[in-house]
């Protein structure tokens, strides 16, 4: 609802009185007029306010004052008196600008003097009458939070046997919804229940409960504000956003993940109450109601946003428009000195494009096709190829039996098998041969198709599908022989640039089997259980026994010769007897320098039974794969990988269609840690007693598409509205606008001009000398901007 604010066409305008009060502590009852030489300072004209600038965060209010000391005329006595310099640095001040019209209200401002400079004139002929000018700068109360560093954290401790819940303060500033150091560090860490009016951090490092911005702000305002010597808050701070209020909706529609380490409370507030989400704030001292004995002084954190209309983000989320909208009519006001309307074309966007992190895809595939032909290793159906050369393989195989130049080592044959084995192991340890049978590379010609690797899994799909921006769109990633369909479903990915992540996006404590990924919501651990899920490392598992031909009874149970699988880094765990067990180990690693996978058996040839040609070089049984239940990497190994998708999570919304169809000016917004992690059907995420456990449906384990879609929609609403900034200067100082009010338009009668920007600064100027005071109203959206 927009109201019309008409600036009175007053012909005679009075100059307001200004009174400055000071106090050692911030309490309404403590403020007394500034003590100047024992006389009534309200009548002393030597302390005056030059400028009071009240601003929305992240800016801090400032009040510049000036005081003349020395031999001054006291109007009360009519005599000159020696006025001493003021000592008011670090004191709180209350500035009252009197009303000049009966219908107005006084302008009352609170701050703290933090700076003084002095101009020293001299001490007079007898050196006993010092004189000079003092210049003071007071900052608004938000500055108090800029002096308070976050050094500790308050946890919700419900483990005590004597009380249900306790606050437990620890060193270290825990970030909101982050677990620094993890591969995917975003996680909830809020307590399940609130305590004494606000939520606390969970006792463990992760929790299924996430902070929203409103809860995080309330926590900060209760536990990380300036304290008195007894540990109590020096003054209470309150978020003025009751539950279900429009203001609270400003903070509840976007997720927060904010670091607190080495930051002040103000810095954290600036990020939580995020200008880049169109919401701003300012602080104001609210003195206790003298008629209410239970009321107490407090500092309120007030919220506003810059949108005129409500924005429906989803079925359950609505971002309310600004609650104080007005049309400013000053067409006939005498006292308007300047009214500048600026139209900044750089913010005229045709498209909003919101970006998150790179998407990921997770899938299981056999390392090569089922009919691996050593003579055609580059067959496009093979996902992996050898990461070593034939020459390296030959040197590896022959090892110590040949010299560096390839000639036979004459002394080799004379050695015992044990000595030969030792010599060979030493030769194969060479850095030049370190890749042999260890490093596997994504096939440069890979067709990027994945086939369900196990019996009964027949679906073939694109490893890197086109994932639609619209979260409500149902995607089909199944392979099609129709080139047109393929073009729609398959991303263009250069195999040489595929990036394999060292961890899967899946976590080891979660059950993703069957259709659980789409059907259930996977949260982090329960803080009471204190079980911390870990991301599963890249999985390589092997077919270790069984024919692979399953025989099942009528109930579907395996009854005969079932295939068995084991993770290669846990071989032997499933050994049935000595003959089928393995006395060698294996490790898996993903180098970060390319599309590589390192599978290192010890010794390496144990997973290359057919590639490893013994010839005459190896006679020790301990080194021969055939004698140690060796595996064939191309026949037996399967991998579950998480790969980086070539596209970032993104959502594009068109604000206006350019005449030529070419996007003219795109607004780009980056949302850190917004993720989209897709898991394909038939991805193996665990091996249970030799049986791969798979998700049959696949799906998104983390899908922030709706989240960035909300941001894109809100941003499109913001930029879809034509905005201008208004700079209005009036030759009077009156309480006619408040920070955060949205000026919809000016010039209501004849030439309405749309403004649609909130008031971000109000400035009162009292020039020295015999000049009229003036005020300035500024609206802006650079202070409140999604980019």
């Amino acid at each position: 609802m927009t109201t019309v604010q008409t600036l009175d066409t007053v012909r005679i305008i009075d100059t307001p009185t200004i009174t400055v009060y000071a106090a050692d502590v911030l309490a309404e009852t403590e403020f007394t007029t500034v003590d100047i030489a024992g006389v009534n300072p309200a009548e002393i004209p030597y302390l005056w306010v030059n400028r009071l600038r009240i601003m929305a965060a992240p800016q801090v209010d400032t009040c510049e004052m000036q005081f003349e000391y020395g031999r001054k005329l006291n109007p009360l006595s009519g005599q000159f008196e020696l006025v001493e310099p003021l000592e008011i640095v670090d004191q709180f001040v209350k500035v009252v600008i009197g009303k000049t019209l009966d219908t107005d209200k006084e302008i009352i401002w609170y701050g703290r003097i933090k700076h003084e400079s002095k101009q020293v004139f001299g001490a007079g002929a007898n050196q006993d009458e010092p004189a000079g000018m003092q210049f003071f700068t007071a900052f608004g109360l938000l500055h108090l939070l800029d002096e308070h560093f976050n050094l500790g954290s308050v946890l919700y401790d419900n483990t005590s046997t004597t009380t249900f819940v306790e606050e437990k303060t620890i060193q270290g500033a825990i970030p909101f919804n982050l677990d620094p150091g993890g591969v995917y560090p975003e996680t909830g860490n809020r307590s399940q229940f609130d305590h004494d009016g606000c939520y606390l951090f969970s006792l463990g490092p992760r929790s299924k409960y996430k902070w929203n911005a409103a809860q995080a702000v309330e926590y900060l305002l209760k536990h990380h504000v300036p304290l008195k010597s007894d540990g109590e808050s020096a003054v209470k701070w309150k978020l003025i956003a009751p539950v279900d209020s429009p203001e609270r909706s400003y903070l509840e529609w976007y997720e927060v993940s904010v670091d607190r380490e080495l930051r002040t409370t103000k810095e954290i507030l600036d990020e939580l109450i995020n200008r880049k989400r169109g919401v701003g704030y300012f602080v104001k001292f609210d003195p206790a109601d003298p008629d209410d004995p239970d009321d107490e002084d407090s500092i309120g954190v007030y919220l506003f946003n810059g949108t005129k209309d409500d924005i429906t983000l989803s079925a359950t989320t609505t971002l309310k428009g600004n609650q104080n909208q007005f049309s400013l009519d000053f067409e006939n006001a005498f006292d308007v000195v300047e009214s500048t309307v600026s139209d900044v074309a750089t913010n005229a966007f045709t498209h909003v494009r919101v970006f998150g992190e790179y998407m990921t895809v997770t899938f299981t595939n056999k390392m090569t096709n089922n009919f691996f032909d050593p003579d055609e290793p580059d067959d496009p159906t093979n996902m992996f190829v050898r990461g070593w050369t034939d020459d390296q393989a030959e040197k590896f195989n022959k090892a110590a039996s040949i010299n560096d130049d390839g000639t036979p080592n004459d002394t080799y044959a004379e050695q015992s098998p044990e000595v030969q084995a030792a010599w060979n192991a030493f030769a194969r340890n060479s850095d030049k041969l370190s890749n042999v049978y260890r490093r596997y590379m994504i096939n440069p010609d890979w067709d990027q198709l994945c086939t369900g690797p196990h019996d009964g899994e027949s679906e073939t799909y694109y490893a890197f599908p086109v994932i639609s921006e619209d979260p409500t769109h149902i995607d089909d990633y199944e392979h099609s022989d129709d080139p047109d369909v393929e073009a729609e479903r398959k991303e263009t990915v250069e195999n040489r640039r595929i990036k394999i992540l060292p961890y899967l996006v899946l976590k080891d404590q979660n059950d993703y089997s069957g259709t659980k990924i789409p059907d259930e919501e996977f949260e982090d651990d329960d803080p009471e259980e204190f079980v911390i899920p870990q991301h599963i490392p890249t999985m390589v598992y092997a077919h270790v026994s069984g024919s692979g031909q399953e025989v099942r009874d009528d109930d579907g149970e395996l009854v005969d010769n079932p295939p068995r699988y084991e993770l290669v880094d846990r071989l032997n765990y499933g050994a049935f007897d000595d003959d089928r067990g393995r006395r060698w180990g294996c490790s898996v690693a993903c180098p970060s320098d390319g599309p590589f996978l390192n599978v290192s058996a010890h010794p390496p040839q144990m997973i290359a039974t057919t590639d490893f040609s013994v010839d005459d070089a190896e006679t020790a049984e301990s080194q021969q794969p055939s004698s140690n239940n060796g595996l064939n990497w191309h026949d037996d190994l399967f991998v579950t990988l998480t790969c980086q998708h070539p596209r970032r999570l993104q959502r594009t919304i068109e604000i206006e269609t350019p005449d030529d169809g070419v996007p003219r000016n795109q607004c780009r917004i980056y949302v850190p840690r917004a993720r989209c992690d897709y898991v394909h059907a038939y991805t193996t995420f665990a091996i249970d007693k030799g049986i791969p456990i798979v998700t049959t449906s696949g799906g998104f384990v983390k899908d922030d598409r709706q989240r960035i879609s909300d941001i894109a929609r809100a941003a499109a609403e913001w930029y879809g509205q034509k905005r201008k900034t208004l700079n209005l200067t009036l030759k009077q100082c009156r309480n006619i606008v408040q920070l955060g009010w949205l000026i919809t338009d000016i010039g209501a009668n004849l030439s309405p001009t749309a403004i649609h920007t909130p008031v971000t600064a109000v400035e009162y100027n009292f020039p020295p000398g015999n000049q009229a005071p003036f005020m300035r109203i500024e609206t802006n959206y650079h202070d409140l901007d999604f980019t």
Partner: protein
Amino acid sequence: MPLPIYSLGDFLFVNFSASGNDDGEPMLPQEHSEVIQRPNVRGSGIVRLERKGIPFEMRSMVDVDNEAAANLLVGNYYLAVGTDPLAIVWRDRDYFTTYGVKYFVLAVMATQSRVVYAPVGGLTAGNFVVRATWHLLPVEVQS
């Protein structure tokens, strides 16, 4: 008919008149204002800047007995500059008791000379007169 009393503080004068004023009456503090006008808006507005004095100039003349007295008076005139504001009695009217106004002496320029004619009247009927130009600022004081 007795002479009307003119005085500034303790200084008595035969004549004491403000420059640029037919009667020479001292100025009082008055409301200051600033005119505001805005393009394309009819009329004018005023910002009132409160009541305060404007520096003005007064001339005084007084006769004294002799040259020594004249020299002393000139010296005292200069000592009045920068002191506490002084009350003015002008044509028997006390501006402090009447208006609550005293006058701060910003500057003075005084001269003394011997009269060549036979003195008649005056305060002392002396042969010397002291003339001065006073730069004054009216200030409102409460006591």
